[in-house]
Amino acid sequence: MHIHEGFLSPEMLAAGWAVAGIGTAIGLKKTDPDKIVRVAVFSSVFFLASLINVRVGPSSTHLSLLAPLGLVLGWSVFPAVLVALLLQAVLLQFGGFLVLGANTVDMALPGLIVHLLFSKSIRRGSGFAVAMLSFAAGFLAVVLGALGTGMFLTLSDPGLRGAVGVIFVANLPPALIEGVITLLMTEFLKKTAPDILE
């Protein structure tokens, strides 16, 4: 889901930085200083999730954990994702520095949308309904991320439109896996540490 250097036009780079900047500023303002360590922990979990390779047929993909991150952090998902992506760019050369804004929007915005749509219902609900909502949250976060990536690429260069369709289809199996992982993680957290989801 990472966009690499060289793909985006300066206009899209600026738009990405503007949205990411606003989201991060709101996220930082809403983050209680006492909770900043917890945000750092989840940010590092997001970083490490990208190193967990899942085999899909002959190929492999990696987890993103966008939905669990969004469900737990709310608006703080923006600074958490920005920092994790910066570290990925510095330590692993995933993504890049110029595209950091666009990548943050691609990944943090789905997390925030999932938080706004599902967080309350998942916290209050129980049983099958929570399982279905968690699966939907995990699936939707990856699909929205892929759509965001596609939007940035298409608006940068219309020649990339065909490739965007392929990228979107390629993201559907990881979205299903992410849905299952989110479902299982939410059930696990609700049973063992429900305060984390508060």
Binding site: L8, L28, V41, V45, V54, V90
Partner: protein
């Protein structure tokens, strides 16, 4: 399912560029990278490749080559996909793939040499001197710390799953990994609370991220001027192409 942690390392490496102020390195790199990102025709990249070419020799070439191999994994898909999917006359996709590959490599060389090789400590100094929010910098440093702590935890747990159930497949495999991730989250959150308590006992976050002083010298101004001239050359060539 496995954790690919072999290539995590601290990126800070000694290089000839260390004589320059980190702020100057960041500013120059961003200026040239933005100009290179805006190029839409291959001739525009010719003057823009001068600085990346010089930067190849500014530090360890082997380490840079390894990073570029990693970065170029995406170009394999670009060369397969774009010629098939790009609308327009035959060859348009190949032209676009070549342009993207050149831009990716040139921008990556500039940003890796000028910014990534500064290491997180000096990047934090730069963020501080540019008046970034202290909350953000604290978050960055704490995340950096927890990445390495959690990585050990996650690697141990993944190894445990592989040893206990090497033939695990399907939903059970995902269930095991979800539990592993959940346990890691709970352990980490508890650890974070303890760390926060310890930090409060030591006087809170005041002075947690105290940066070193940076000095801007005439040679930094010269480097900025050199990059600006190079960026201007790229813009001029693009305008006339």
């Amino acid at each position: 399912m496995q954790i690919d942690a072999a290539h995590i390392r601290d990126s800070e490496r000694p290089s000839r560029l260390d004589v320059f102020d980190p702020r100057c390195r960041v500013l120059c790199a961003v200026l040239l990278a933005v100009v290179l990102a805006s190029v839409r025709f291959l001739p525009g990249l010719l003057p823009g490749s001068l600085v990346p070419f010089l930067l190849l020799f500014a530090g360890e070439p082997k380490a840079l080559a390894k990073m570029l191999v990693h970065v170029n994994a995406v170009t394999v898909f670009v060369w397969i996909l774009l010629p098939i999917t790009t609308p327009g006359p035959w060859g348009e996709g190949l032209r676009l793939a070549l342009l993207v590959t050149c831009k990716l490599n040139l921008i990556s060389v500039v940003l890796i040499r000028m910014i990534a090789e500064l290491g997180m400590g000096r990047i934090d100094n730069v963020l501080s001197s540019f008046h970034f929010s202290e909350k953000m910098r604290v978050l960055l440093l704490l995340t950096m710390r927890y990445v390495f702590l959690l990585m050990d935890c996650a690697v141990t747990m993944t190894r445990a799953i592989c040893l206990r159930a090497p033939a695990l497949r399907g939903t059970r495999l995902y269930s095991a990994f979800a539990c592993m991730l959940g346990t890691t989250l709970i352990h980490s959150a508890a650890r974070a609370e303890r760390s926060m308590l310890a930090m409060r006992c030591r006087g809170g976050m005041t002075g947690f991220a105290r940066p070193c002083l940076l000095h801007w010298r005439p040679r930094d101004t010269l480097l900025c001027a050199f990059f600006a001239v190079n960026a201007a050359a790229v813009v001029v060539v693009c305008l006339y192409a």
